[in-house]
Amino acid sequence: MLTPVAFGFLGSMLPAFGYLPALGGDSLSLWPWQKLFADPALWSASFLALWVGLAATGCSLLLTMGFFAAWQGTRSFTIFLRLLSPLLSVPHVTLTFGLAFLLAPSGWIIRLLSPWPSGFQTPPDWLILNDPYGFSLILALILKEVPFLFLMGVSALNQIESQRSLATMRSMGYGPLAAWSKVIFPQIYPQIRLPVFAVLAFSISVVDVSLIIGPSTPPPLSVLLLRWSQDPDLEWRFVAAAGGLWQCFLLIIAIGGWFLGERLVKKIGLLWILCGHRFSSDVILRYSFLLINMVSFLCAYLGMMAMGVWSIAGYWRFPDALPERYSLTSWARQLDQIAVPLTNSLWIGLASAFIALALSLLWLQETSSCHASPSPQNSGKRQAAKLPFLLYIPLLIPQMSFLFGVQTFVLFIGWHQTWVTLLWSHLLFVLPYVFLSLSEAYQSFDSRYERAALCLGLSPLHVWWRVKLPMLLRPILAAMALGFAVSIAQYLPTLLSGGGRFPTLTTEAVALASGGNRRVIGIYALLQMLLPFLAYMLALGLPAWLYRHRRALHTHGGL
């Protein structure tokens, strides 16, 4: 599976040094680099990427962990978890559009404040979206990354014993925030570190969100690279390849910076942990974490509502909070155009989810034998932990850097822009998620069920088919739904490997962003959200219905 990444890298490396016979570059040289560094937009674009990436990651982590520290174990925490987990399946493009619909000068927030108390009769001439410092971009990223880190944090928490340590700390007089930060955070951070790096890599290199809500002159590096790679002047392809490597270098710098930050926090944190400060009155801080997080998920949900309203809005004057009339004309008018991207999205999503599921099941079945292990905790886990790291690689490398290489590589072998390469590039991102979500269920499966079935005389295939598969139906379908959602959300892989020949809801929605027709954008973004949502409903509903008379299968599982 990883060979495409390796080839992708190679495919970026060679053109970066001027070698790409297909485009007339047949000798190694440094001219693409010279051209890259001579470009006036490069430095500001690079700084912007670093700033956005670090700020979005830092804020998301702070918000998530702050909320954990303040509220873990309470009812608000459980309610929050329920509200946040559906957001995980919402494509970031949808969330971003939602945010844009709220924040824009003519968006819902300003409409609600107008004409009173703001006094606006026409939308103010403010640059809220696409602001040059990337604030709105950072906000959009936080909206998407907080739910992700939240769920990662919860699964990390499940692996440690937190309740008793917290109780011990509280009994020594530590406030909830201090108790959690001093004892629990140091334990779970190592486990969420890889996801945090994935967030960092994603935020530095994100393309679709930046196109919608990021600064445009100059744009962040990823957008600049995309422009170059699509420049009619083929010379820029070489520069884009060099830029892809430069982006990797930036990521390494960012991760290095993060490392230093970790060190610093560790040093200072240790002093703070040992100084004995109880910090027992932390109510204000705790509630502010609650408030900020509530605002953030409210933004997400309100944004999606705003899109829904826009998609059925008839005439809608500016300061009005709601449209004067509602109509389905926009939907009716788009019906023809939507059919192709909709079916494309559907089959790519289904196919990649299914292939990823089959590969994961095969792999997991091979590695996790049902046989009684010496100590079930470590023997199986060590093996399982190895693969995910390799699988994580496509999530840790900037998409642009190797997808561009994949593109040149398939061009080279003549598979350019076929559905095979399209599916392949989707799988790179779908497989890790499907595998990770399945492997947890596989590891917690009680292997004695398999042993019992074997000893009843069932063949291994029968045991798998009649016992293991049905018992794992819930996590299996959930993993598939996740894979489907991941595939639906892919922008850059679809664009680059499909070469524009396979428009999906996501590529169409992003393409519409510059046009600014909110009614049409609302339709595309809503559909884009609806597909994964339906997949999740099926994934939850089907086993619940099939096993409606089987109580033991109701409780465990989950998203």
Binding site: R451, A453, L454, L456, G457, L458, P460, V467
Partner: protein, 228 residues
């Protein structure tokens, strides 16, 4: 209770001369051997009790006998059932029934389906249904065929679990502390339920337990697994 290990010394090493379940010089090694080499002969209908401190490898021994021990262990020795060696036979063809601490009824199947799953392919048509009804009757659970196993009481689940094993027509039975998780009131009834079936069906039975009472009621020989 008879004295410990009088018989195994006589036929150690050699293939068994008698019917039943026989173990020869079994050693399981994970870096170091877990216990002293063990040899046993359990004639049909006998219940041999195997005791030993926790962690000595009782469950590993049972996993080895059923052929489901992880490959990270090194093993040595032979297993025979009715004088036929099964050490290399795949688990599903050994015909060794095993009962665990937990009932392990498959949660996605009804009580009747759990039983049906165990009946060999060779039993066909209405015969299968008859066997299920007979088993349910034996468990005192007539009419429970379509019930969700999760709705049964602990004792009921345990009885179904035993009958499921028996329906698979095992040639010997392995019991991995099957009484330890059952509440004390039902424990002794279930114990007799198991022992009675073992004797009627003349199954050679190996019982692994912590509880000396399990052993004394079994009235069979007692063997201790010793750490090396």
């Amino acid at each position: 209770m008879t004295s410990l290990g009088s018989q195994e010394s006589t036929c150690s090493g050699a293939p068994p001369l008698c019917e039943g379940l026989s173990l020869r010089d079994i050693v399981i090694t994970l870096e170091v051997p877990l216990f002293d080499p063990i040899s046993l002969d359990i004639p049909p209908g006998d219940i041999m009790t195997l005791m030993g401190s926790s962690g000595v490898g009782k469950s590993s021994l049972l996993a080895f006998l059923t052929g489901t021990l992880s490959r990270s262990f090194k093993t040595h020795g032979q297993v025979y059932i009715h004088q036929k060696e099964i050490t290399q036979t795949p688990p599903e063809k050994r015909h060794l029934g095993i009962l665990f601490q937990d009932d392990l009824l498959f949660p996605h199947l009804s009580v009747g389906q759990n039983l049906a799953l165990a009946i060999p392919k060779s039993v066909k048509g209405e015969k299968r249904q008859e066997k299920i009804y007979a088993a349910l009757e034996e468990a005192g659970l007539t009419g429970y065929e379509n019930r969700d196993p999760a709705t049964l009481s602990g004792g009921q689940k345990a009885r179904i679990a035993l009958l499921r094993v028996l329906l698979s027509e095992p040639k010997a039975l392995l019991l991995d502390e099957p009484f330890s998780k059952i509440d004390p009131e039902t424990r002794s009834t279930f114990r007799y339920f198991v022992y009675d079936h073992v004797r009627t069906l003349k199954l050679p039975t190996l019982l692994v337990t912590h509880d000396p009472q399990d052993a004394s009621i079994a009235q069979g020989r007692l063997k201790e697994l010793k750490k090396t």
